[in-house]
Amino acid sequence: MQLFEYAIVNGVLFGLFYGFIGIGLNLLFGVMRLVNLAHGDLVVFGGYLGYSLAVDAHINSLWAIPLSIPAALVFGFLVYHATVPRLRRAVDTETASLIVFFGISQVLEALMTMIYGANQVTLPSPGGPVSLFGQDYPASVVISAALSVPALALLYLYLYRTRIGLATRAVMADEDEAVASGVRVRRVAVWAFMIGVAFATTAGTLTAFMLGGINPTTGSGLTITAFTVIIIGSLGNPLGTVVGGLLVGLASSLSLTQAYATEWTAVVPYVLLLVVVLVRPSGLFGATVRRA
């Protein structure tokens, strides 16, 4: 029973982190239907930023969070203007974006390999084990999960307590009607894009902690996890993304405690995704059904 409890807590900790990774993608995909295949690479890029600070500048890697945000906003702004207007004019934006962002993902991976090398890098744990409910958890994991909560709360505030957040939700729910109501979609999209990128890099500074280490190819797996999380939790719904993250985290963690399920751990998110899209394609919290 002790093991079961451990797995539950561990699953929650990882689930919060997965939610954090998913949330930026949710903004991009939810607002503009951009299939950002480079999302995971942006996350890893954030991780390398933290690594650089810790190893080269000898300061706590968590400083990467405030430092990366302005950089990510600028980067997001530039990438938005370089790609999105053209993508939105494409005959099929979803597909075109998928290809463009695949290319961007390749470029990012190449840059990371050129700058940091192909080896896995790790960050020293920020402290000794942390005791939760009578059992010990790595400090890195607990800190990362704890930081995910305010980040998710901030996005919630953005979407539900600001005017542009309302416009963002309107565009996510029904772009045509939002335009007809006078919403400036381009402005909403630029901000969603920039914030999405900033969330990716911010979550990234935690990846080296959570995943034990990062290398330039870590990103593609994270992209898939992020898509799984947001689809399970419904597009455009940040609360859903958190729940999606928790589901993936818990299911993966629990499968590791079962004698014959450990080798199937990697399949868990995919099976969850398939079950959700087939049984409830709108996700667990969605209203609109995306069926042909």
């Binding site: 005017r163 029904d174 045509d176 007809a180 006078g182 919403v183 609109t288």
Partner: protein, 250 residues
């Protein structure tokens, strides 16, 4: 009577398919204009062109005597041209959020006041203020769409099929509401309709057939002209069905 909106030689379409052929419409301030036509006659296309949702191939749209061809839709909405689409509401957002979306760009205080005014004008919406718009009945949805379009107190309200999907009783109520709104908000209405009941609210009728303007004149004259009916029932309409007139279950 000053001219509020003028459409000059409007020609446009989708892709390479032309839908409108050199359409001229003049809407004087304070006059409710009913745009009539069968499916595919180009009504919605004309409204989209007015709102800037579809660029003109050639021609001009003037508002208050000024050309607004280069204005994007949000600028037109923010400059006193409200648009009530056939759908009219954002189903996933609550009633109140829909109204607030309608007030995008206004100062927070103004939005608050406008919403308070809406609660007085449409008490039914106040009762459902927290419900998602998608959960409203068809009539309530149209009411919300109308209220949302009125949030900014526009000078011109462009409406695409305000009666679509409503039962005859509700259509009648809608006509009453429109009359009330027109007088209360001093708004000029441009409605595209297939349902002739709604004509009761109009003072001027424009008939589109096959993307060209047919009849254009006062309501009484329209009523007395039997030859217009032929145009109205779309005998010369092309087989093309513009996408906005696809079945609602798409």
């Amino acid at each position: 009577m000053t001219t509020l909106l003028e459409v000059r030689h409007a020609t446009t379409g989708y892709g390479t398919i032309q839908v409108l052929w050199d359409v001229n419409v003049t809407i004087p301030e304070g006059v409710t204009v009913g745009l009539l036509g069968a499916n595919g006659s180009g009504k919605s296309t004309l409204l989209r062109a007015v709102m800037g949702l579809l660029p003109l191939w050639s021609g001009e749209v003037l508002f208050d005597g000024e050309t607004i061809n280069h204005w994007d839709p949000s600028r037109r909405v923010r400059s006193s041209i409200a648009y009530m689409s056939e759908k009219g509401v954002i189903a996933a957002l609550s009633v109140e959020d829909n109204l607030r979306v309608g007030g995008t760009g206004l100062a927070a205080r103004e939005v608050k006041a406008a919403i308070a005014r809406t609660w007085d004008d449409f008490p039914i919406l106040r009762e459902r203020r927290r419900s998602p718009a998608g959960s409203l009945s068809g009539g309530q949805r149209k009411t919300l769409a109308l209220a949302k379009a009125l949030i900014r107190q526009p000078r011109l309200l462009v409406m695409d099929e305000p009666s679509a999907g409503l039962s005859p009783i509700l259509v009648h109520e809608m006509v009453e509401t429109l009359r009330r709104v027109r007088d209360q908000y001093f708004v000029t209405l441009l409605l595209a309709e297939q349902n002739s009941t709604v004509l009761d609210v109009a003072q001027q009728i424009v008939v589109l057939a096959g993307g060209r303007k047919g009849f254009d004149g006062p309501l009484d004259e329209f009523r007395s002209r039997t030859d217009v009916a032929a145009q109205f029932f779309g005998l010369s309409a092309p087989p093309d069905v513009p996408s906005n007139e696809r079945p609602a279950n798409d």
